[in-house]
Symmetry: C2
Subunit: 120 residues, 2 copies
């Protein structure tokens, strides 16, 4: 069965709803967990890869690329041969801390046994 | 290439991080857009289907089922033959309004041309 195509009106309205447009950028679990890690002070591919959720390497590479294209993170080479990048949140990215804060509060209230993870 | 398996430690830690566990439940764009619609007063499958983002019917049916299993929404039949259900947010689901509020504020600040959509 072919994939259902989006209605023609979608692009027009998607571009004006702040919720839908934000979720187009960060509306997936892995993007928000990468942002959580950067807020917690992690900065390298290897450090994020060590997070307990076990993000797959291909997804991590994709999300770092997409978040940088969206202006949410910035990268800077800290080593050459092989080149390695450190990632930091831009001011736009740091503002997502408010969203993650709301998510933490909801989780701690409604999902038994959860807590705020601090940097490990 | 086989899908990378999750490390053994994942389940243990996933169950304690409030962000990761919350995102397991509502960490996708469509779930949060369905919750947005219910917060805006929509209640039926048909009403949600009319939202401008054009949610595919199979995804809407899946998300309603998962959100009800998670205790975020409740359903009640309002018509028989054929049976039709009205969906409402539980108190747990209404508390996600804080998360959506944070998302709206971020979007309006950082994505040009977006706004808070009111019920259409």
């Amino acid at each position: 069965m072919p994939r259902r195509t989006t209605r023609n009106s979608a692009d027009r309205v998607r571009s004006s709803c702040a919720i839908a447009r934000t979720l187009d950028v960060v509306g997936d679990k892995w993007s928000l967990l990468v942002i959580r890690d950067l807020l917690h002070g992690k900065s390298t591919y290897g450090e994020i890869l060590q997070s307990p959720e076990g993000i797959p390497t291909n997804i991590l590479a994709d999300r770092l690329k997409r978040l940088e294209e969206a202006g949410i993170i910035a990268s800077e080479a800290y080593q050459e041969r092989p080149v390695r990048y450190a990632y930091t949140l831009t001011p736009k990215g740091r503002d997502l801390g408010e969203v993650l804060g709301a998510i933490v509060r909801w989780g701690k209230k409604h999902i038994p046994g959860t807590r705020t993870l601090t940097r490990s």
